[in-house]
Amino acid sequence: MARMKFLCDAERCIECNACITACKNENDVPWGINRRRVVTLNDGEPGEKSISVACMHCTDAPCQAVCPVDCFSTTSDGVVLHNKDMCIGCGYCFYACPFGAPQFPQNEAFGVRGKMDKCTYCAGGPETADGSAEEESKYGSNRLAEGKLPLCAEMCSTKALLAGDSDQISQTFTSRVMQRGGRPDTWGWSSAYGE
């Protein structure tokens, strides 16, 4: 069985934010919810690095471990999905997640948390029929069922964001590192500007 993962090559990411746009458009993500975000470290300084983060689909997912209603499940592809029918909006997954992936709509009175929303790896929901209208409105698209990878990675212009089976994408990444000669700065600032 494949184990689907994301891998962001920080030496290639140019902070174009296209992955976020792709995600929002493909999954009709509501206003205020960001399933994916790009963080730039040392922004504006020579040597700045950007990295795109979303749910990491952990093998031993902390969100899954602390959920009081046990509404998370891991698919056979290793994608961590969460059932919005069962979710009670307690926020525990958000406390547990190291990456800040779980998002909560705050459109109820006093900003009380609604049902959690997070990256589905473009694999829809755990309980809805693949590609159904219900799935579309609740979780967004199900590209995995169509044999496609998440759109954020598919349309990454520099191929910094890799998605796919963990073995394959780590091989791709390793071969890139070998080609760079082990020097992380071959790409980017120091080769372009000599710093």
């Binding site: 990295i51 525990y92 406390y95 190291p98 705050q106």
Partner: protein
């Protein structure tokens, strides 16, 4: 003879020389083997140092900092969105799942067993001698209303809180995940909403009851005798005995922690930091579990544990015999009598007609 002598000395010195030659050859070979690669080491170190970047990965410190919780710039406007990794949730996960949950369950089980054991072996505390048939006012209408509002909201929130903490382990095997999710949703809403009346009622209960719950000199003796729980004695006590005072202060401190942490947990609009929410959740669950455990003891004492105590909180009146036995100083104060000799010092001087006016005595 001479010749042969010469021969032997000649041969001896030749053998000695040969041995020495062999020894030196070995030493030379050993030196070459050991020392020859050393200049090579110097040379490689030189080349690596000349290139500089090979000695250390310049990114290692960079990513190490991120791992420790460093943050950067992001267009995401959510609080702490620039923070890439915050692993304090791992500690919270261990504390909640492996520490607070099991020890909380053990604490509650321990209190339940202790109370049940005490009831079975010692039985309820009865009023000694005959009831006088005369009633004395102990709790006025306000006291009783506020007590039961706090009690009912606390009870419902205890049950819903316990369901949210232990439901996954206990109830999901019974109801299934879908069935339990509906119950959990209901419990969460009830827990969130009842927090408001609980908070208001708790403050309205604590403030007027403060003065009767200040520790006084007779409380030390009461505590030393465990309130007569094990020796059948009746140590002196004012309106509230030391046990009730400890429960009052536990509820005051624990209740304040529960209210403050609960508001922060239920209001993400306040935009608390993730670590703040994690800390608040730990405080909330620990103080909640402790209060639930102690409240079991209070519920026992106020219902089947002490005869007459429950009626006192329902009708507001207690029998004078009950009052004399359990709260002698308070009874004396109410009756305007001289306090019993053993606790004269601690008895208040407010005895007299003023005491009678607050404690109405009525024959029933």
């Amino acid at each position: 003879m001479l010749n042969s002598e010469n021969n032997t000395t000649d041969e001896g010195s030749r053998r000695k020389r040969r041995n020495r030659r062999i020894l030196w050859t070995f030493v030379a070979m050993w030196m070459i083997v050991v020392l020859a690669p050393i200049p090579g080491y110097f040379m490689t170190t030189d080349t690596v140092q000349a290139k500089g970047e090979f000695t250390d990965n310049p990114r290692s410190a960079y990513w190490g900092e991120i791992r420790q919780g460093g943050s950067g710039y992001t267009t995401d406007r959510a609080p702490e969105a620039g923070n890439l990794v915050n692993d304090s949730g791992e500690l919270w996960r261990v504390l909640r799942n492996d520490t607070i949950s099991p020890y909380g369950a053990w604490l509650i089980a321990f209190i339940l067993v202790a109370v049940a054991g005490y009831f079975m072996f010692a039985g309820p505390m009865k009023v000694e001698g005959e009831l006088s048939g005369t009633k004395i006012k102990r709790w006025n209408l306000y006291d009783r209303c506020i007590h039961w509002i706090v009690a009912v909201t606390f009870f419902v929130m205890s049950i819903s809180g316990l369901i949210l903490l232990y439901g996954r382990a206990v109830l999901i095997p019974l109801f299934g995940r879908e069935g339990f999710a509906g119950l959990a949703m209901f419990c969460k809403d009830v827990h969130d909403l009842l927090g408001i009346p609980f908070a208001v009622a708790l403050v309205m209960m604590i403030l007027p009851w403060l003065k009767d719950n200040m520790f006084r000199s007779e409380d030390a003796e009461w505590l030393a005798k465990s309130g007569g729980m094990f020796d059948g004695s009746h140590p002196s006590s004012g309106k509230n005995n030391a046990g009730e005072k400890i429960w009052f202060w536990l509820l005051t401190i624990g209740g304040t922690v529960l209210i403050v942490s609960g508001v922060i947990l239920v209001m993400p609009n306040l935009e608390p930091l993730r670590n703040t929410m994690i800390t608040m959740h730990i405080l909330h669950s620990v103080s909640g579990l402790i209060l639930i455990a102690v409240s079991l003891g209070h519920t026992y004492m106020g219902s089947i544990g002490v005869e007459g105590a429950f009626n006192g909180m329902v009708t507001g009146e207690v029998d004078t015999a009950w009052a004399k036995q359990h709260h002698d100083l308070w009874y004396a104060e109410q009756m305007g009598e001289e306090a019993p000799a053993k606790a004269k010092k601690s008895a208040k001087s407010s005895s007299g007609p003023a005491g009678l006016s607050t404690g109405k005595v009525s024959a029933s």
